[in-house]
Amino acid sequence: MTDTRIERLAALLVDYSLELREGKVLRIDSLDAGSPLVLALYGAALRAGGLPYTNVSLSGLGEALFQYGSDEQLTYLSPIQWEEIEHLDALVTIWSESNTRAFSRVDPTRHAAYIAAQRKLSNRRWERISSGEMSWCGTLYPTNAHAQEAEMSLAEYEDFVYAACHVHEKDPAAHWRAVSSQLKARAAELGGVRELRILGPETDLRVGVEGRSWLAADGRYNLPDGEVFTSPLETETEGEIRYTFPAVYHGREVEDVRLRFEGGRVVEAEAARGDDYLQSLLEMDAGARVLGEVAFGLNYEIDRFTRNILFDEKIGGTMHLALGSGFPQSGGQNTSGLHWDMICDLRREGEVHADGELIWKDGRFLADPVLEMVESRVRG
């Protein structure tokens, strides 16, 4: 029996996220475990008049590349992949792991070399995405491995994922359109703020954001989605922050991270577990000690930590502040090789002040955004 939520997620991706039009080429990337969603997407794309094709691989082959491949094989980029990128109008990435810890034992140096090589391909992809030549959306198909990571049964995890995407409802696109205008209004409002002050347990951090653009993450690039984010001024972060959720980078967890910033840079850092890893990542390059992102998580269907950044960074009532690279489209200048999202839970006792005014308490903005602001900005 087909889960209608899969069909709705597929239709939402095709019609809302990608806005796939007749005659447009869509590639669907997945591992074999994501096949039910691959097939539903393929059907939805056909019905939209698109030209879909599938690019499905088998779980376990990535690890084998590390195990048996030489350095040259590890960093090889196939001419087929280069050729394909130029032909795509749209791309969906379905994350659907059968073992989320498959790379745990891989040599970090080799892993870094692999990622650096793949980045050449993804840079070209992002070039085409940023210029509007192609659209992209990343989503997840629930597997036992992801459920296990989240400490849920598969059935519970499916409910969690599909509720977060709002595909348990009849008309998810209507929901996301409404979310989109809310988030855009909020982003426009935050665009007028010079400084945010974040107060919480062992947290008192001032983040300068003057002149930076806030962006609404409204289901175009990720499903689920639901955040507003920007890149803060690189030299204007002062104070300290304690991250209540474990900070995960490439599958490795660092617990109870505390950071102190001066003049935009981390000057003190400690973690209850994984401190060595934290210190080594801070040494990656000059930008690794500087924030690249500050964001509000606003998807209140996501109410718990599941060890997957696709969901965790959108937990309603949290903020995340990432160390490392920023977003050029926000005005961010940080070009670090690191982008490490760390999540701060502000749902119990948390306050955010904007230029001295309390705007957020215990995980909620105090007032709805004023929708007219969007229009005035557009006109301006």
């Binding site: 005659g23 097939l39 059907g43 056909l46 008049g49 030209l51 088998l58 082959l61 394909e84």
Partner: protein, 370 residues
Amino acid sequence: MSSDRVLRLADVLVGYSTRVREGDLVCIDTGPAAAPLIRELWRRVLEAGGHPQLRLDVDGAPELLLREGSDEQMSWVSPLRRAEVEKADVRIAVYADVNTRANSGVDPERQARLERAHDPIRRIHFSRVASGDLRYVVTLYPTLAAAQDADMSLSDYEDFVFRAGLLERDDPRAEWEALGRAYGLVADRLGRHAEIRVVGDGTDLTLGVNGRTWVASDGRENFPDGEVFTGPVESRVDGTISFTYPSSHAGRRISGVKLEFRGGEVVRAEAEEGETFLREMLALDEGARRAGEFAFGLNEALTEFTGHTLFDEKIGGTVHLALGASYPETGGQVQSALHWDLVCDLRNGGEVYADGELVYRDGRFLDGVV
């Protein structure tokens, strides 16, 4: 299949059939049911210094396209497929069907259209294989669906597939090389003749083969293997041929096919089962009514029909004829989106004459070359 068997199969495919070398881009095309073989192929290709790339079929996707696709969607070829056939050094295709009859309810005319759309890809593939630019092998991973077609349990079918590949022998590569030399003798012998006449139950067909090359097929392009094939002279196929055993083609079952050729073209065609489909295939394009290939099956380890052409066409004592495209390396000229092998059993009273002389009876060459 047990991991030991899978290992041996992967070893032969990578080390012998496609001879993967350092730097080769190796494209693997198959379905998820072949997962154990894929993992072993992946490892072997990496160990040989190649760059493996996998494209997995998604069960149900082709059927969706056949049922719901518009004209534009049906005639479109993905950039992945095109880039793969143009840029790969090696292709390994593995049949791993989970349902060999999934397309039974699909309009045959639409199937024909889909095949036509992929003709440009087929042409590139055939010509790169013929010129040696692309090394290609097709094999089968035993699935329940294929076992069901063969009227066998999965474990019996696995035994059958394993033995057909001579994989239980100490050195399968050496076995295939030796067989290749023996098949070469048959090819040499047939190459001396201008005309072949096949006579059997419901069959009396004469084919001109003057100037054409007979190719001995030794486990490199098909695995398992065992045939010598050529491309008959296009205007010189005359008479009738009846095909013995039902087969699954393009996701549906066909049986009792009987064809009459005149001047190289099919002038009459009938089938007990799947006749509409047969007619659509014959109407596919200009070349689909012609015999692009004629071949002798020579693999004595294969004795029973199993419903899969990869095996049936190699049964020692059979011949097969393909409607549609010929292989350029034989000198055959037929161009078509179709290449459909149909098998005729000659083990019970069948005869073959070469330039009028009886050379083959009851499924064997009389001078015992094989």
